[in-house]
């Protein structure tokens, strides 16, 4: 047993080492580098107004990425999030249309419940049919999107239709940080703590690494996966409500094509696509990185057409880095285990 003889210095260097080998480090340094370089090239990139815009643009994506990372960690995926976001965003507009004086808190509760229900449909189908989530949520993506289109038709809700204080959530700031961004940060921290230190959160990692082993170990796999989908749905619902507050209009096309962007953000954030590793914080940073690129390219006057290609390169480098790191780690583990014997 090598763990017994830890001296204090070894422990400290272990902590430092753990910090630098954390999965979030590559993506976090990429973000810092991006902001630094852009700032040097164009100092106005970090002016108060532009910083606020950057944060506002990242908010919705961060919540979506945090939600998506929960299901991806359990070795599932939810492709229906774009449609769920569209449904809850349009639902929020409808709620305000019918009850203009409804308390804001209730709107959030309704949105998250609605999203949670849609997530539950995904979760029930995935757990009961024992078919990969990719297929099921590809199907429900079409179904939800179709339901939204027939519900919304050509109708749109504009920000003017909503109560002013609701729209103000994306205008007002608290120490320079928009209210909805604060909501996103609080959510990220809460989910991150849950995933890293609550038992049922840890169970999700176990399920993602090896579902059969998790089942043998006595973890209620079906129930946990179902809850993961409900959580993802609820968070997506929250993102939908915030979307309505942030953007000018919501309609039948709201959130279309968003699903692959969200998965991309999660993957860039170092969450392994086949589950079992990665963190919520990493996914959130990944989302910030991807949404900051647009602003950075505009600020440095790089041709806007390069943006998507750069996103593609980022995703690929994230996967490659992840692969290299995990290969090195297994090699080290093998060596240290050999020494242990």
């Amino acid at each position: 047993m090598s763990t017994v003889t830890h001296t204090p210095t070894a422990a400290r260097s272990g902590a430092v080492k753990r910090f630098f080998t954390a999965r979030e480090i590559p993506v976090a340094s990429a973000l810092v580098l991006l902001i630094a370089v852009t700032f040097i090239l164009n100092p106005r990139f970090l002016s108060p107004q532009s910083t606020k815009d950057l944060m506002l643009n990242a908010t919705i994506m961060v919540i979506l990425a945090v939600g998506q990372s929960i299901v991806i960690i359990t070795r599932n995926v939810d492709l229906s999030v774009g449609a769920i976001l569209g449904l809850t965003a349009f639902g929020t507009g409808t709620v305000f249309d019918i009850f203009p004086d409804i308390p804001l808190v209730l709107v959030f509760v309704i949105g998250m419940t609605f999203g949670g229900l849609l997530g539950a449909i995904n979760g029930l189908l995935v757990t009961s049919a024992k078919v990969p989530a990719l297929v099921i949520t590809l199907g429900t993506m079409y179904i939800f999107r179709g339901v939204l289109s027939s519900w919304a038709g050509s109708k749109q809700f504009f920000s003017g239709d909503n109560p002013k204080e609701f729209g103000n959530l994306s205008v007002d700031t608290f120490f320079g940080i928009p209210i909805i961004t604060i909501i996103a940060v609080v959510i990220t921290v809460a989910v991150a703590v849950f995933m890293s230190s609550v038992r049922s959160g840890r169970d999700l990692y176990a399920i993602g690494s090896d579902p059969d082993a998790a089942r043998l170990f006595g973890i209620p796999v079906g129930g946990r996966v179902l809850s993961a989908f409900i959580a993802t749905g609820a968070l997506t619902g929250l993102a939908g409500v915030l979307y309505t507050s942030r953007y000018n209009s919501v309609g039948a096309l709201t959130g279309s094509g968003l699903e692959l962007d969200v998965v991309a953000a999660v993957v860039v954030g170092g969450v392994a696509i086949f589950g079992g590793s990665g963190t919520v914080a990493g996914a959130a940073i990944g989302a910030v990185l991807l949404s900051t690129i647009t602003g950075a390219l505009t600020a440095t006057r790089v041709d806007k057409f390069w943006q998507q290609a750069i996103v593609g390169v980022l995703i690929l480098s994230a996967i490659i880095i992840d692969r290299v790191v995990s290969l090195r780690r297994t090699r080290k583990l093998r060596v240290s285990e050999a020494k242990d014997v």
Partner: protein, 344 residues
């Protein structure tokens, strides 16, 4: 012996592909009776030209999924091909044949890049192709910007839409049939194709029995790239316009059709006939509903519903069968227990 072939026949006429074709035929018959203008040669033409892109990409995609991988970058490859074709035609002064040949080379490169990352570096294809989905579409934007090129030779753009005599069948279907036949033969009648099933069941086992796993996967991704490029060229000529957004969103439609056609997302299961049935079913249903003035919105619900149903139904049936079997075993056991007690 006779019973074996009989049970084979029963399996064949009650299997997944057969069910897909029954549904397809019922959809066609019902539409012919109840939907105005459906029963005409115009229908055949419009319907077939509509499904060409999905049908083409579904072929290599089926092979990729059977071997346990996936390719989400197909639509972006088509878009990049279209963009390159547009720019080459506008700026290079080459004749259209050379331009089309060079455009197909784009597909080879895109597929080879996917294949390299997946086989040589051992990265998961789902993640890699999400990356190249963004990358290739991004490169299409870099190549052509937000411009369109529309000055393609008239003869060529009208050739793509031309029909075989009075049948209403587009001439291009001959080419599509050749592609389908190629992949059907490759999958079902060559050692390479049968190796793909082994690969989908278990890559390790496939390696042990002598399948060159990396080699096979690499060429599958190249094939997917080439066919996606063909679709890019086809879309450019059909729309008579090259742009960065040609084929957007096609990847999920193709995968939905392939899975509906009975290919298992786990790999190791599926066949070309089923996939053709799946593509035609989605295409026909969409076309018939559109002709019956069902709103566009209901169409995607039907597509999604079919997809979910097609994967959930087998599990439900298997669950029901298992229940019945268990009950029978239970009864047999009790009966045996009772008779055992008597004889003793």
């Amino acid at each position: 012996m006779a019973t074996a072939t009989r049970s084979q026949w029963i399996r064949r006429i009650s299997g997944h592909d057969a069910v897909i074709f029954y549904i397809l035929i019922s959809v066609i018959v019902i539409s012919m009776v109840s939907v105005n203008y459906f029963a005409s040669t115009l229908t055949v033409g419009f319907l077939l030209i509509q499904v060409v892109p999905v049908l083409l990409i579904a072929m290599p995609m089926a092979l990729v999924i059977i071997s346990g991988e996936i390719d989400l970058s197909v639509a972006s490859t088509a878009g990049l091909t279209s963009a390159v074709m547009g720019v080459l035609w506008r700026d290079s002064g080459l004749d259209i044949g050379t331009v089309m040949a060079l455009s197909l080379l784009i597909g080879v490169l895109c597929g080879a890049f996917n294949g390299f990352l997946i086989t040589t570096l051992g990265l998961p294809s789902l993640a890699v192709t999400i990356g190249t989905l963004a990358l290739y579409r991004g490169l299409a934007l870099v190549v052509i910007g937000d411009q369109k090129v529309a000055s393609f030779p008239k003869e060529l753009t009208s050739f793509v839409l031309s029909k075989i005599g009075n049948t209403g069948i587009p001439v291009i279907m001959i080419f599509v049939l050749v592609v389908i036949a190629f992949f059907a033969v490759l999958l079902h009648f060559t050692p390479f194709g049968r190796g793909l099933y082994a690969l989908g069941y278990s890559p390790q086992a496939a390696t042990f029995v002598g399948v060159r796993v990396g080699h096979a996967k690499f060429w599958l991704f190249v094939a997917t790239g080439v066919v996606s490029s063909m679709v890019g060229v086809f879309l450019t000529l059909r729309l008579a316009s090259a742009g960065p957004d040609n084929g957007t969103g096609l990847e999920l439609t193709v995968i939905a059709a392939v899975l509906l056609g009975g290919v298992s997302i786990f790999g190791g299961k599926g066949n070309i006939l089923g996939v053709v049935g799946g593509v035609l079913l989605i295409g026909t249903l969409t076309y018939a509903l559109r002709l019956a003035k069902v709103p566009e919105t209901a169409l995607i619900i039907v597509t999604g519903g079919l997809l979910v149903l097609s994967v959930v139904a087998p599990s439900l049936i298997a669950w029901g069968r298992e229940r019945i079997r268990l009950r029978r075993v239970h009864q047999n056991f009790q009966r045996q227990g009772a008779s055992g007690a008597n004889s003793a």
